[in-house]
């Protein structure tokens, strides 16, 4: 269970609108990104929210990994995204994979501002 949980809130995103508004497009992108960075996808679930006029109003999604999960939520009306990448080190140290995946997904949205946190998980299991 020991691992690295990376957390970011992205602001003033100038990336492709489809990544903020198209659940299928964001799902394919996130699943592919996890695989490209050497993680094992066991499932994914993405959902498009609609406003009162039936227009897309943001996407929430998660990729469940053998190594833990990626979770993402988009707020297109304010150009913001929240991103979580939690990767445990069960079979090997996946921290570099987590950092590389996190950096790639973050950059895909072209944010002007990033608020980042990192939490080391499962530290008491090491003692």
């Amino acid at each position: 269970m020991q691992g690295l949980h990376l957390i970011a809130d992205l602001y003033d995103c100038r990336g492709p609108a489809a990544l903020m508004l198209d659940a299928a497009r964001l799902e394919v992108y996130c699943v592919d990104a996890c695989r490209r960075h050497g993680l094992t996808v066991v499932g994914q679930l993405f959902h498009l929210f609609r406003d009162e006029h039936g227009q897309g109003a943001g996407v929430t999604g998660t990729v469940v990994l053998a190594e833990s999960h990626l979770a993402i939520h988009t707020w297109p009306e304010i150009g913001a995204v929240t991103l979580d990448v939690y990767v445990c080190n069960f079979s090997c140290d996946n921290s570099q994979r987590a950092e590389a995946l996190f950096a790639e997904v973050t950059q895909a949205f072209v944010p002007a501002k990033i608020e980042r946190n990192a939490v080391r998980r499962g530290q008491l299991a090491a003692s």
Copy 2:
């Protein structure tokens, strides 16, 4: 996107074994708990890992909420669980709901030790 993200690593859990090993049972429990605490479930995905002998070796799962997500991973071989509850305050302040849900799910596993973090998300959107 502003909200409260509660993070815990639970150790030496003495709760029901089914919550650690039965993906369907854990899924029903988590979905019901989210609903009981007034959150809106838009989907869920739970997966059972098996060891080389085909025996259950832990569950990873997520409940996707209109208010963000719950994510949980169990490590029955070491009696540990990692739990995330991230609830945003889009339509109202859901912090108390997040805390109540988090406390209930944590207690269901009867952990001897808890390592807890809380991250306020989306703070720059407030400025």
